[in-house]
Structures are given as C-alpha cells and as structure tokens.
C-alpha cells in the first residue's frame, strides 16, 4: 500500500503545483494519473503551443511549463502512479481514504485532492455498434505488448503518428498488417508516411485509403472486419486483431461515482478552501466549479495553494501553522 499525506488524482499542472505548496508545509504527496506521463492537457493536447498568461513568463511552451513544474517540485520527491486510473475511494476505519486504481494499486491518505482536469484521457472508440463485445477479444485501443501480434493478422485504423508508427513496427512482427485510413494523405511525421508508403509498395503491409471500418464480425472473438471504401463499397477482411488508433479524449470517468456534488461534469467546491461536500476530499483546477470559475492554469495554482492550508489543518488539527514567504527560508526539500 502506498501511503502519503495528500493523494493527488491527476498530474496536470494543478496537481503538480500542489506538491510544491504542500511541500512548503512539510506535507508529502503522491500523484495518480491515467496517462503514462505527467502534464495533463498540456502534454497530451498541446505540448508545442505557447502559453502567454502564466505570470512572469511572457511566453512559455506548454511542454516546457510542465518540465519547469517537475523541476520545481523535485525537492519534495513526489511519488507517481502513472498509467493507472483512480477507480474507487473508500473511507477506512482510521479516517483515512483508500484509493484503488483500475490495476489494483492501493493508496492511503488522510486527504484526497482531485485535480482531474477534464477527466481521464482515454482512447477514442470508433462508433461501431458491437465494438465493446470484442474488447480484449481481438479489439485493442492501445498497443501494450507488441508480442501479442506476433504471427497474427492485424488491421490498424487511423492516420496519425501512432497508427503509422505501429504499422511500421508490426510489419516485422505480425503475419500481416493492414492499415485503413479515411483519407489519402496522412498527418503523421513525413518520414513515417514515406516508410509506410514504401512498405505498401514492397508488399510488406497493405494500405487501404479512403476507407473506414464499419463493422466487426466474430463469434466470441473477432473474426473479420467490414471495410467500407469510398467508391468500391464494402468488403470483409479476415483478421485476428483490430487496433483503432484515434487519439485520446478526456472523460470524467469514475469520479462521477464518488458521492461528490457534480454540476455539468465538474465538482462543486467551497471557494474558502476548495473542499467538496465530502470531508477530506478537495477538488482543484479544471475539474471544479464555483460561481465565477475560469478554467485557467493560473487559477488552479491559486486554488492549490489555499487548498493545502486546509488540508494541513485536517491532517494536523492541533498543530499551529505559520505562514512564510519562500524568500525567508528558501525551499527546504525532503531528504528522501
């Protein structure tokens, strides 16, 4: 079991900055995020876009801001559980909360800070009626272990970098790779596009453009996909696997079932300390709502700062807390 003072759900900018403000009060933090890397929307949606409204930075790339935040919180040695979705929260007998992820990792903390942004980033599922019937029975939205495809027939759909990269990679692993894409042009990196074209010409893969997968057939497990071509109509193709790669989109997910007051996909909080209706559970950043809320990084930083003051009082009801500027003592990190 992973134990900490403040368990932060979401490693976006607001979750990350919480570690710093908590650290100044000598509180330890651990972050859980369904993405494989920290940074939330900044890393996942717009790492290369400049942001202009971070105080003191006339211009900063989103990815750079995340790097800087990680550097800033490093002295406080935050723990990370990445690539796992926070699934359930239970109150334990000692008053702390127990949080379990979808992979069964268990965490315990007296305070939970939900910094879940727009929700967990999850793969987008193409609208094929029975697709959920074949999940893990031939349909995978993420390639976790390429060995699964060794000597198998694979159909990949999509036109971005991940579709191209996996097509190239699996060309050497799978028995047969077919890439299906809606248009004739690809948006991925130029050399990947060229490589895929070359593999197609040499017969190592099969590329079908101006086409989409519109149906899946099988009995218990996937047996064939139905490919619809813009002009040539529908055809069936036998396959062992279908891997649709259409990027990720945020979904509120399990947070909706934790007994919190929710309004339009956001958690209602008291702006005094960003507490929710459940004692010991706070919500900061894009995931919360209150009169006048703005979904801005700057506002989330402010929320995090006030929130940890209240968290401190919950964890140490009898301890006095004195307010200090960082300029007075500098940043005193943890030794381990």
């Amino acid at each position: 079991m992973i134990e900490t003072d403040i368990l932060i759900i979401g490693a976006g900018p607001c979750g990350l900055f919480t570690v710093f403000e908590a650290g100044l009060l000598k509180l330890r933090c651990h972050l859980v995020d369904s993405l494989a890397q920290p940074g939330g929307q900044l890393t996942e949606i717009y790492p290369k876009k400049p942001i202009y409204d971070i105080p003191g930075y006339p211009e900063v790339l989103a990815g750079e801001l995340v790097d800087k935040l990680l550097e800033q919180i490093e002295p406080f040695h935050p723990g990370f559980t990445l690539g796992e979705r926070a699934e359930t929260i239970e109150k334990m007998e000692d008053g702390r909360y127990k949080l379990t992820t979808n992979r069964g990792t268990v965490h315990a903390a007296p305070v939970i800070a939900i910094a879940g942004g727009l929700g967990c980033f999850e793969p987008r599922k193409p609208p094929i009626g029975n697709i959920t019937d074949f999940e893990d029975k031939g349909v995978e939205y993420i390639i976790k272990d390429p060995e699964l495809y060794r000597d198998k027939r694979v159909v990949i759909a999509g036109g971005g970098d991940s579709a191209l990269d996996w097509t190239i990679f699996l060309a050497d692993v799978a028995e047969e790779v077919t890439l299906v894409h809606r248009r004739t042009s690809f948006r991925g990196a130029l050399d990947s596009v060229e490589k895929v074209m070359e593999l197609n010409e040499t017969g190592k893969i099969r590329l079908i453009t101006e086409a989409q997968i519109v149906g899946l057939n099988g009995n218990g497990s996937l047996h064939e996909v139905v490919i619809k071509h813009k002009t040539a109509g529908e055809m069936n193709k036998e396959t062992d696997h279908f891997v649709p790669l259409f990027g990720l989109a945020p979904k509120l997910g399990p947070i909706a079932d934790w007994g919190l007051n929710i309004d339009k996909n956001a958690i209602e909080v008291d702006t005094f300390d960003y507490s929710t209706n459940v004692e010991g559970i706070y919500a900061i950043g894009d995931i919360n709502t209150y009169p006048g809320k703005l979904k801005l990084i700057l506002c989330g930083f402010h929320e995090a700062t006030l929130m940890v003051q209240s968290a401190f009082k919950r964890i140490y009801p009898d301890k006095k807390l004195s307010f200090k500027y960082t300029t007075v003592n500098g940043v005193q990190g943890f030794d381990n």
Binding site: I45, Y46, K49, L118, R124, K125, P126, P127, G158, G159, G160, H181, R182, R183, S185, R187, K230, F246, G247, A249, P250, K251
Partner: protein, 109 residues
C-alpha cells in the same frame, strides 16, 4: 442590426436553434454555440485540437479553406462526412455567413 447575422444550428436531438451572431466580436461558430449554451464542448478552446465542435454544414455558403490542422483533427473524428464536415471553431463569423445552417455531429465516446 446590420452587424449581426442569423445562423441556424440543429442540435443532436434534431431541434433547430436560431442564433444571432455578432460579426464584430472576433467570434467563431463554436464560440457562438457555447454562448447560447448549446451542447458544444470546445475542449481545446478553438485551435482545431479536439473535435468537439464538429458539425455538418447544410447550406452552400462559401467557407474558408480547411487548414491542415482541421483536416488532421477531422481524421481523428468519427461520423465524418467528406462533403459537409467542418470544425465550428474554424468558421469565423462574418457577414458572408448570414443564413448559415449547420447540424451538430454526434458526440463520440
């Protein structure tokens, strides 16, 4: 008023909404929909980086050409119609769009 135009947005339930959109506020169609509280998320704020404002243009208005970003994003979207699909955030409101009719595309999971 001469600097507002009329736009019709058909929502996902098939209900038509007549909207008045100012042409002098530097707005795009996604923002107009949001200001009327229509169910358009606009997650990325209007940079063609998500596809939550995907819609089908039902009229023959002359529209700005699709940028590469918009084409790329529509690649990741579902229920795309090659002839009519656009991202609302890439359609700036100007006088030429008066009378535009769009239908919101289904939300993808």
């Amino acid at each position: 008023m001469s600097d507002t135009i009329k736009i019709t947005v058909i929502d996902r339930e098939g209900v038509s909404h007549e909207l008045e959109a100012p042409t002098d506020m530097n707005m795009n169609l996604m923002e107009v929909c949001k200001s009327y509280e229509l169910p358009v998320k606009g997650t990325c704020g209007g940079m063609a980086l998500c596809s939550t404002c995907h819609c089908y243009v039902q009229t023959e208005h002359e529209l700005p050409e699709m940028s590469e970003d918009e084409e790329d994003m529509l690649d990741q979207a579902f229920f795309v119609d090659d002839e009519t699909s656009r991202l609302g955030c890439q359609l700036p409101i100007n006088l030429e769009l008066d009378g535009l009719v769009v239908k919101l595309a289904p939300e993808s999971e």
